[in-house]
C-alpha cells in the first residue's frame, strides 16, 4: 500500500506547486519601492512649462501618480476609469507623462478627457526609472508622509479600484 501512496503523495504535491505557479502572472513584478519614500522629482508641468511640480509639494495629502503616454494603447482602456474617479473628488490624480511629445500629449487629453490635477513631463524617462516603471500604464498610491503604499501595474480597472485602491486610500486618509 505504502508503495503506491508515497509516489502519489509526491505527485499531488508537485501538481499543487505547478498549479500555483501557473496562476501567477510573471508580468507583475513586485516593486521594492512599496513602503519606501517616493523618489523625489522636480518636473515641468505639461500645460505650462514655466511651472514645475515637485513630489514634495504633495506632502500632507494622499495622492495617486499615474504614469501615462499618448502612445500607450492600454492607457486608453483605463482612461475612462480615471476620468470617472477624478469626478468623485476622492483623491487627486497626478499624471506622469512618460517619454511623450508635449503637443500630442495635450491633444490626447483633449480627446479623451483630463482626470489629472496636473500632468508633469518626464520626456527622457529618468523619473520613470527612479519609480521602477517598466511598462505603461502604472499607478502609485502615495500617503501623507510621501511613502509609496501601493503600485498597480497595467490598466486600472473598476474592480481594482473597488477591491484594493479605494479601500486603501480611505484607510490612509483617516
Amino acid at each position: 500500500m505504502m508503495r503506491f501512496l508515497l509516489p502519489l503523495a509526491i505527485f499531488v504535491i508537485l501538481v499543487i506547486f505547478l498549479g500555483i505557479g501557473l496562476t501567477l502572472n510573471p508580468r507583475q513584478v513586485p516593486s521594492p519601492l512599496i513602503d519606501k519614500p517616493a523618489p523625489i522629482f522636480h518636473l515641468q508641468q505639461l500645460y505650462d512649462s514655466s511651472k514645475t511640480l515637485s513630489s514634495e509639494d504633495n506632502l500632507g495629502k494622499v495622492w495617486m501618480l499615474n504614469v501615462w503616454a499618448s502612445w500607450c494603447v492600454a492607457c486608453r482602456d483605463e482612461h475612462p476609469v480615471l476620468v470617472e474617479l477624478s469626478k468623485l473628488g476622492i483623491v487627486p490624480i497626478y499624471g506622469l507623462n512618460y517619454k511623450d511629445q508635449r503637443d500630442t500629449a495635450m491633444q490626447w487629453l483633449r480627446q479623451y478627457g483630463n482626470p489629472y490635477e496636473t500632468s508633469i513631463v518626464d520626456a527622457d524617462g529618468k523619473v520613470g526609472i527612479d519609480y521602477g516603471v517598466y511598462g505603461v500604464p502604472e499607478t502609485y498610491v502615495i500617503d501623507k508622509q510621501g511613502i509609496i503604499r501601493y503600485k498597480h501595474i497595467g490598466p486600472v480597472t473598476v474592480e481594482s479600484l473597488k477591491d484594493k485602491i479605494l479601500p486603501l486610500i480611505k484607510e490612509l486618509k483617516s
Partner: protein, 171 residues
C-alpha cells in the same frame, strides 16, 4: 520598370521570380546600415558584461544586453551614463535593484526568501540519494534473512540430480 523588362524577356516564370527575389535581397542589403561604432569600446564591453546578467523586465527571458525593447535601451543608456560618472558595477547594480527589485538579476542573491530556490535541488538530491541507499540496504538484509537452509531430504535430492547430470555429460 527594369523588372518588367527582364520578366518579358525571360520566358520561364520561375527564373523571373528568382530575379525579383534576388533584386529585393540586394536592395535590403543596401538599406540595412551598420550601427555606428561606439565612441568608447572599453565602456561598451564593460556595459555588455554587466548587462548580460541583468534581465529585461519587458521581454523577461532576454538580457538587457541582447534585448531590443525600449526598456532595455533606456537601461543601457542609464548604465552607460553612470559608468561615465565613474560608478562601480556594484553601485550600478544596487541602483537598479533598489528600483526594480531582485527580479532584474539573473542570479538571484542568497537570502531568506531565496534559500529554497538555491538549496532545494541539493536537498532533493541528498534526500533522494539517501532514501535509495537506505532502501537498497534493507533489501539486501531482507534477502539474507529469507535464505532458508535445505532440509536433509532436499540436499540428497539435489546431490542425486548433480550426479545424474555428470553421468549424462560423461557419455
Amino acid at each position: 520598370m527594369m523588372k518588367q523588362l527582364i520578366c518579358m524577356r525571360v520566358d520561364s516564370l520561375k527564373r523571373c521570380l528568382m530575379v525579383i527575389i534576388l533584386s529585393l535581397i540586394a536592395f535590403q542589403g543596401y538599406a540595412n546600415e551598420a550601427p555606428p561604432v561606439a565612441d568608447d569600446p572599453e565602456l561598451e564591453s564593460r556595459l555588455n558584461n554587466l548587462a548580460e546578467n541583468l534581465r529585461c523586465l519587458v521581454c523577461q527571458n532576454e538580457t538587457l544586453a541582447a534585448s531590443h525593447a525600449d526598456f532595455a535601451k533606456d537601461m543601457r543608456r542609464e548604465i552607460r551614463e553612470q559608468m561615465r560618472m565613474n560608478k562601480s558595477d556594484e553601485e550600478i547594480v544596487d541602483f537598479l535593484v533598489a528600483r526594480y527589485g531582485d527580479f532584474i538579476l539573473f542570479n538571484p542573491p542568497f537570502k531568506s526568501i531565496t534559500w529554497l530556490l538555491w538549496l532545494g535541488p541539493f536537498t532533493l538530491f541528498l534526500g533522494g540519494g539517501s532514501a535509495l541507499i537506505f532502501y537498497l540496504r534493507r533489501r539486501r538484509i531482507r534477502i539474507k534473512e529469507n535464505e532458508v537452509p535445505l532440509t536433509e531430504n532436499q540436499r540428497l535430492q539435489a546431490e542425486s540430480l548433480i550426479k545424474e547430470m555428470d553421468k549424462d555429460q560423461s557419455i
